[in-house]
Amino acid sequence: MKLKRTFGLKSTLPPYSIILLLTVTVLILAMVSLGLGAIYISPLEILQNFLGNGMQSQTFILHNYRIPRILIAVIVGAGLATAGAILQGVLRNPLASPDVIGVTKGAGLAAVIVIVLFPQSPIIILPLSAFIGAAVMAAILMIFVYKKGAQPNTIALVGIALGAICQAGIEYFMVKFPDDVNTTLLWLTGSLWGRGWDQVFILLPCLVLVPVLIALTSKMDVLSLGDDIATGLGERSKLLRYILLSVSVILIGVCVAAVGSIGFIGLIAPHIARRVVGSKFKVLLPASALFGSIFLLVADSLGRGLFPPIEIPAGIITAVIGVPYFLYLLRRERKIT
């Protein structure tokens, strides 16, 4: 109820048509994004390529760079946004997100350690360590959440503090090993540059979580009413929270592993979604996911298309768009105590 009052600008359209609209938007954006980049490919040429008689150099670019990048943008955007929506529901804090709870910073620290201390390690180790970093961070946070019986706000604060500790560690390594700073910085900003089918295949297993989430949505609504009511209604709320938190951590871990720590998608997308379709998870989750996809698609397309051949990491663009919106939300949000 609280959420609904705060973000009460519900659209008059029925939710499912909005979701259809969003899906169409994602598809259109993906098509537009296919043409953008250092080498412009017109819609007609794209069509010819799909029919199998385009220019070979264009086909190569489309198949090797643009299509995988667009898929990654769609999946990572959706993944981070879904994770954010779940976190906001489970922690009952409209400002919770992967960045806020320090999980992305944990992944960042682990990645920096690998880049700096084990520069010869095979390239697959990097996403793996990022994932482990995120998981460890989440585990520490969960211990706080459940040992202390903490308030949702305390969780957010503890998350920010853990993030600060990781940041201190990251700075230590960057100062101590200045020669690796380039790779490290790029990774910490989050970029889809140089990502390809390998990352798509890292991300694909995430889709397994889709049916799990669909099965859990009705229970999540009950959960967001509060522990007391949820327990009263017979939901085993504690276990459910664990499961949901784990799902979101897996999503975050895999996404960060694939593209680095891209910020603010997990926070902004669920908010916009909630304003448009309301806070029932059955519509909120798909809508968040779609908004997340749109957000990252736009950010990456801008990054590629603005100053070719120079690429701007998508993480910079999501921050520049996302932070002002976040601050605006914070200003409006009078309820958090």
């Binding site: 604060l157 503090a161 910079i316 601050l327």
Partner: protein, 326 residues
């Protein structure tokens, strides 16, 4: 009595710290030489090193530490929020973003104008966080979130600058905060602002105490509350801005020290402010000594040490999760 003891202990430790800081360095200078240099000045190489390099460095450390700690104490007073500090409040981030931009776009700025640029940045960063966090009462979590977001935003912009200008990468190390290699020029750069800021803060500490008693009580004093807040805000900008201009954004000093001081001497700002200055100086001088050993024989920025101490302290405060007891 306890207060007096604390004051003496603090002062002795600070002097010891400065002396240690002066005796540790690349060239081998023993303690007797350090002492001698204060009483029998000569122009030997050792003494020149002490006079022109080590002493100003220790002084800059002490001044920056005092500035940041007092700025933190003032912020915690005006917001009555235990997480308030130049770092969390975006003041450091704002000042350093402006200075980095100045480095990149106007590389030949004089040191005075650099300080002014830092003031503008500090004011903008602080005001942004304040205005966004204060809607409907500033809670800890809102402050922390707003601070984090502004910090994130500014560092993303800095990254953007680095992409278009490889030269800008040189300022990355500066962004951690360091007092390595500071000279009398830097002392001169920060000293007037420090003296002004610290003295005015001490003079107004009584009014600040009233402010902390709660707005309801202070209401009777009418307009004054508003004026005290504005004045404290200006002091914060001067203290934190000049520190960042000289040493870069050294983090967490302003967060930790006021809490420790409050524990030691109680909640009266007439004591908190001078003691924050003392212990802030103390922390930074010792942190700087530690920083020289992290990557020995190379120097590390002192900001790393304060971050490593400060971040867990932040965690401790967050875990406690409540505002300053009134």
């Amino acid at each position: 009595m306890k207060v007096l003891c604390t004051a003496i202990a603090g002062a002795v430790l600070l002097i010891l710290g400065i002396l240690t800081s002066i005796s540790v360095g690349a060239s081998d200078i023993d303690a007797s030489m350090v002492l001698k240099s204060f009483f029998e000045a000569d122009s030997s190489k050792e003494q020149t090193i002490i006079r022109t390099l080590r002493l100003p460095r220790a002084l800059v450390g002490a001044l920056v530490g005092a500035n940041l700690a007092v700025a933190g104490a003032l912020m915690q007073a005006i917001t009555r929020n235990s997480l308030a500090s130049p770092q969390v409040f975006g003041v450091n981030a704002g000042a350093s973003f402006f200075i980095v931009s100045a480095f990149v776009f106007f590389p030949n700025l004089s040191s005075v104008s650099l300080v002014c640029v830092a003031f503008i940045g500090a004011a903008m960063g602080g005001m942004a966080v304040y205005s966004f966090a204060s809607g409907g009462g500033m809670t800890q979590v809102k402050l922390a979130l707003a601070g984090m977001a502004v910090h994130f935003f500014l560092s993303s912009l800095t990254q953007g600058m680095i992409i278009f200008n490889e030269q800008a990468k040189d300022v990355l190390y500066w962004l951690v905060g360091s007092i390595n290699g500071k000279t009398w020029a830097h002392v001169n750069m920060i000293l007037p602002w420090s003296l002004f800021g610290l003295l005015v803060a001490a003079m107004f500490s009584r009014s600040v105490s009233i402010l902390v008693l709660g707005e309801n009580m202070a209401q009777g004093l009418g307009q004054r509350v508003y004026r005290i807040r504005i004045l404290a805000g200006i002091l914060v900008i001067i203290l934190a801005g000049s520190s960042v201009a000289v040493a870069g954004p050294v983090g967490f000093v302003g967060l930790i020290i006021p809490h420790i001081v409050r524990r030691l001497v109680g909640g009266d700002y007439r004591r908190i402010i001078p003691f924050s200055a003392l212990f802030g100086a103390l922390l930074l001088v010792y942190a700087d000594i530690l920083a020289r050993f992290i990557a020995y024989p190379f120097e590390s920025p002192v900001g790393i040490v304060t971050a490593m101490i400060g971040a867990p302290f932040f965690l401790y405060l967050a875990k406690r999760g409540r505002n300053i007891k009134q």
